[in-house]
């Protein structure tokens, strides 16, 4: 967190020529524009007649404002259900992870017990396990439990996370110990210290984790593809992919309207919470 506020060493180093810096800036901005082009094309295509989707040379601004494409997505396929399913799955997983990961992170960051470092290492090593190794036994387990084609199949195995525990542990380590010591002297137990001292101070950390987890499961494709087969139960990325076949490859405009509506919440969250996201990435990568 302090890293972002620190003075920038290169900027403060002696500079030779503002022209050079402006040229670099211009090139970076141009690159940034190139990065956004797929989204611009997606958005402007989503408002056109389907037959104009491929007109060349490309028109960058919307040439028409046909709400019909959006209407078709909203009524022709269970788009609203996809959004609600994605919301339900992502929110429940996020809540679950915030609870389980913050508890574990508190133990790893603050409590002393035999085998702590070894256990932490074993725990972190699961980051190396590709999802595909465990997915077949998990699929069979879920099938045996009769949870296939339910949202619980997506939620239950996902409410624990090594990444989340690691991220929160890093956050908790930045909280001064003195506050807890004071509470301890006042006779507070571990649970009370955790609930009344650590959690209130860890707000930014918990928000960061929540945003990451929500975004990850909002976007998830692989597990829904395996576990969900009923159209009305699908989450958004899976539903949109299936819709591609349903609406026919010809109707690009409707597909782009669907993808645009799926990306909109991500854009809003991003603009509101950019700071948390960047701090979270920094904390895992720099101080890990």
């Amino acid at each position: 967190m302090t890293a972002l506020a620190a003075p920038d060493p290169i900027r403060t180093a002696p500079t030779r020529g503002r022209l050079f810096d402006w040229t670099l800036t211009a090139m970076l901005v141009l690159g940034g524009v190139l990065m956004m082009i797929p989204f611009v094309w997606m958005f402007s295509t989503s408002w056109r007649l389907a037959k104009d989707s491929f007109s060349l040379p490309p028109q960058w601004l919307p040439t028409a404002w046909r709400f019909e494409n959006y209407h078709e997505v909203l009524t022709g396929i269970p788009f609203v259900a996809f959004v609600l399913n994605s919301l339900k799955v992502s929110i429940l997983i996020t809540l679950g992870q915030v609870v389980t990961c913050s508890m574990a992170a508190y133990a790893f960051a603050r409590l002393r017990f035999p085998g702590r470092d070894l256990l932490f290492l074993v725990f972190l090593s699961q980051l190396m396990v590709p999802q595909q190794v465990t997915i077949i036994p998990i699929f069979i387990l879920i099938r045996v439990l009769g949870l296939l084609d339910t949202h619980w199949a997506l939620i239950i195995p996902a409410v624990f996370s090594a990444f989340g525990t690691f991220l929160l542990r890093q956050f908790f380590l930045t909280i001064p110990v003195e506050l807890e010591d004071a509470a301890r002297v006042d006779g507070a137990g571990y649970l009370r210290t955790f609930l009344q001292i650590i959690l209130p101070l860890a707000g930014p950390g918990l928000s960061t984790l929540a945003i990451f987890v929500f975004n990850f499961y909002w976007n998830e494709f692989f597990r829904p593809l395996l576990f969900i087969s009923t159209w009305e139960k699908m989450t958004l990325p899976l539903g949109l992919t299936v819709m591609r076949g349903y609406l026919g490859v010809g109707n690009v405009a409707a597909i782009m309207a669907g993808v645009s509506m799926g990306i909109l919440p991500v854009l809003i969250v991003f603009l509101l919470a950019q700071r948390y996201l960047i701090e979270g990435i920094t904390l895992t990568g720099i101080k890990g």
């Binding site: 890293a3 972002l4 920038d8 290169i10 002696p14 500079t15 503002r18 402006w22 670099l24 800036t25 970076l28 901005v29 524009v33 990065m35 956004m36 797929p38 989204f39 094309w41 040379p57 389980t100 990961c101 508890m103 574990a104 508190y106 133990a107 790893f108 409590l111 002393r112 017990f113 980051l127 190396m128 590709p130 595909q132 190794v133 465990t134 077949i136 036994p137 998990i138 099938r143 409410v159 624990f160 090594a162 571990y190 976007n219 494709f221 990325p237 992919t241 591609r244 597909i255 993808v259 799926g262 991500v266 854009l267 991003f270 950019q274 996201l277 960047i278 895992t284 720099i286 890990g288």
Partner: protein, 294 residues
């Protein structure tokens, strides 16, 4: 153990209980079960039949696997190399950006694709890559480049998937390198300056060594994730033409969930696991040589 220590230990395990249960049920247990399944033939509908080493023999003689593994390795190599090198170059350039507004614009535009769903943006890129009507070929045409069959030629299919991956996740490394650059203590640059170091020398002897921990994280994390590439080839090319862009995870998916050969799919999945672990451990070993922690 004295009573205070014992209390603390018990409290710790109580706090850890949910994630330990999750770890055993959904990581450790399934990983061990996958080893077990690799010795069985199991089609989900009929009871598993013991198969001995049959799945392993098949694995080593599977005529499709060398190309599928090669595609995956090509993807991983280029994805990791390009996102690391370009991410670093962008971050270094970005520290010289004039005006906070432009810095915000740059950071936002490079980072935004990271947050989108790979499956959804693959739907968009599928049309950008279209040979006859795609805007990529249109603008290449303006520059005098012949139409490239991005998704339909065995030569270009994997390249298209790499480019999409780099576009989508470049911003993640960019942000990490920016933060890494900002956390380099100023006194190191001042010391270098006193020693008469020019701009290049201070980059080479201060900036680069200070960034090695971030670079290490970026490479290890990129490698682990890149080996699991699935969504973009699944949507863009469905692995084709032929097997030209099929990845290991696609093959696991198809063996297990299309042809219901859970045993063989587990064997292939374990091979992926072993490769990822070995490469990660090699990375950690090599890091002793080139990573400098302050």
């Amino acid at each position: 153990m004295n009573p205070t220590r014992l209390r603390e230990t018990l409290a710790a395990y109580a706090f850890l209980a949910p994630v330990i249960v999750g770890f055993v049920l959904f990581v450790l247990g399934p990983a061990l079960a996958a080893i077990g399944f690799s010795f069985y033939n199991y089609d989900v509908l009929t009871p598993p039949k013991f198969a001995g080493w049959a799945n392993y023999r098949r694995f080593f003689h599977d005529p499709r696997l060398p190309l599928i593994y090669w595609n995956t390795v090509v993807y991983v190599f280029w994805y990791v190399t390009l996102t690391t090198v370009i991410g670093l170059a962008l971050a270094v350039a970005a520290t010289r950006t004039m005006h906070a507004l432009w810095r915000y614009v740059i950071r936002t535009s490079y980072f935004f694709p990271v947050l989108t769903s790979l499956a959804s943006v693959s739907l968009v890129w599928q049309y950008l890559y279209s040979t006859d009507f795609g805007i990529i070929n249109y603008y290449l045409g303006v520059l005098g480049v012949q139409r490239i069959p991005w998704l339909t030629s065995s030569q270009w299919a994997i390249i298209s998937i790499i480019l999409l991956g780099v576009w989508k996740n470049l911003g993640f490394n960019f942000i990490l390198f920016v933060a890494g650059l900002q956390s380099i203590p100023r006194h190191l640059y001042e010391a270098a300056e006193i020693d008469g170091a020019g701009r290049w020398a201070s980059f080479r002897y201060v900036t680069l060594p200070s960034l090695t921990p971030v670079t290490f994280f970026v490479i290890v994390w990129g490698l682990i994730n890149a080996f699991q590439i699935f969504d973009s080839p699944f949507i863009l090319t469905t692995g084709g033409p032929g097997d030209a862009s099929r990845t290991v995870v696609m093959y696991i998916y198809e063996s297990g969930f299309r042809f219901f050969q859970m045993g063989y799919a587990s064997t292939v999945a374990l091979s992926l696991f072993i490769i990822v672990v070995v490469l990660t451990l090699i990375q950690f070993r090599l890091s002793r040589i080139w990573v400098f922690y302050q």
